[in-house]
Amino acid sequence: MTATLLEANALCAFYGATQALFGLDLAVEAGGITTLLGANGAGKTTTLRALSGMVRATGEIRFDGRPIAGRPVEQIVRLGIAHVPQGRGTFVRQTVEENLQIGAMTRRNHSAIAADVERVYGYFPRLKERRRQQAGTLSGGEQQMLAVGRAMMLRPRLMLLDEPSFGLAPLIVQELFGILRNLNRDENVSMLLVEQNASLALDLADHAYLIETGRLVIKGPAHAIRNDETVRRSYLGY
């Protein structure tokens, strides 16, 4: 039995008066990769945003046993939760290297930061080639790699990844997911992965949640869900 790193109970989220999540229970195991699947508008992005304090939410959220619900985004981030947002959140006018430095803004130790910049370049050699380039000039795939790199600079214990495959060519997606797998294994970063591409996500993850209009439909080990023909046909569409 592995420890639970992140746990949400009866999570509800609201945009103004509109409710988007209806009492979701969710857990991410330490060291594992959990994926959150569902159709467009099911509330996947909202779930991530609720977890990192970006939308108004009710319910209980515990990170490493500590309650974090209701805390401001900056504080939650500082606990070691790196959110790689939809749209990648690139600082387009800053250079690639400045983007990485921004990711380490919560840290003090300059030599450790410099070492981590090199570590990111180790995972993403393409970013090293473009280190002095304005980040807005990178391709979509490179910007996604930069977003993951920026998240790494935080030295997070948990990464919340919001559709990292969105808009990328299949080859780039494969490369990126391979790197995510390595990160999870080598750096002991747990992950909560939101994906449209269910087959890809289920290959990478060890646990899966399937949600529909803000409610949980089914949860279980990724391989069980992948092999469940009814679920696959009716919800995952492949």
Binding site: S52, M54, V73, E74, V77, R78, A82, H83, P85, G89, T90, F91, V92, R93, Q94, E98, Q101, I102, G103, M105, T106, R150, L154
Partner: protein, 294 residues
């Protein structure tokens, strides 16, 4: 063409242009952080200048008063953001404009109430001789150019080469993403306000010996500052600086050589510049047109 007169006017224009550059930069800094033009920027600078005058009136030496005023202005700027603007952060544009106008008249009236509306002379630390005995530029004009250029250089180094500077740029460029990097965006905005107020204080103290100290002294200056910011592009700090120096030179040269402008119509030039730039190149000479890839 009288070349010596032209050179003289260009140098004098660069001197006041330095002040416009500082005000424009202060305006741009706040614009970058909260997407609104601070109409009260000039009044804040005027109030700071009165603080300096008061300190000197109490017998404080010039440079001590100079530094204390900058520090007080910085704190005042941070306080204004925390008390007035943080609570209305998500309010619509019109609410911001109303609050800016309120701030404008509150500061203006407060200064008039404390120090009354009589015109006061403000000392210059550079002396009134002409610089290097050339007769081309006064020592105070030379001092204005030097101090404003020095200030702008310091700001450049701060934003390019310090972590706080990078954090402020990140917070202004993409607040949501900056927050996800753990940057306290609210405090970065407050810091921007403090710095803008401090820059305005320097500008006010430098220009006060020229325009004399009274509660309405910054009205014209702010207009030139806006013109400079618009010319350079509201999204470009470097553009604001170039715009400031250009507006200073254009204003002086046109005021001298175009017969009908004269001293009285000089302010019109600022307005003409604003209109002309907005018509021809709305994003300014150095600004970025907002284009986003989706």
């Amino acid at each position: 063409m009288n070349w010596e007169l032209l050179l003289h006017q260009v140098l004098a224009g660069l001197a006041t242009g330095g002040i416009y550059a500082c005000i424009a930069l202060a305006v741009v800094m706040i614009y970058q952080a909260i997407d609104h033009l601070n109409f009260a920027q000039g009044e804040m600078a005027m109030f700071s200048t009165f603080i300096a005058w008061q300190l000197m009136d109490w017998g404080t030496p010039y440079w001590v008063a100079f530094v204390v005023t900058i520090a007080v202005s910085f704190i005042g700027g941070v306080a204004i953001e925390r008390i007035v603007f943080k609570p209305i952060h998500d309010a619509p544009v019109l609410s911001h404009i109303v609050v800016f106008i309120a701030l404008f008249s509150i500061i203006n009236s407060l200064a008039g109430w404390i120090w009354d509306y009589t015109i006061k002379s403000f000392p210059t630390p550079f002396g009134s001789r002409s610089l290097l005995g050339s007769g081309l530029i006064s020592a105070h004009d030379g001092g204005m150019i030097t101090v404003s250029l020095g200030l702008l250089a310091l700001l450049y180094l701060f934003f390019r080469h310090t972590r706080v500077g990078l954090a402020m740029r990140a917070a202004a460029a993409n607040p949501e993403s900056a927050r996800l990097a753990g940057i306290r965006v609210g405090w970065m905005i407050a810091l921007g306000w403090g710095m803008a107020a401090a820059i305005g204080a320097v500008a006010g103290m430098l220009i006060a010996p020229v325009v004399f100290l009274e509660p309405n002294m910054m009205l014209g200056i702010l207009l030139y500052g806006f013109a400079a910011a618009v010319v350079g592009g509201l999204t470009s700090p470097g553009g604001a600086v170039v715009g400031g120096f250009s507006v200073g030179v254009i204003e002086n040269v046109a005021g001298t050589f175009i017969p009908y402008f004269g001293r009285e119509l000089k302010l019109t030039i600022a307005l003409l510049l604003i209109v002309a730039v907005l018509l021809v190149k709305p994003s300014g000479l150095f600004g970025r047109a907002v284009v986003s890839r989706v």
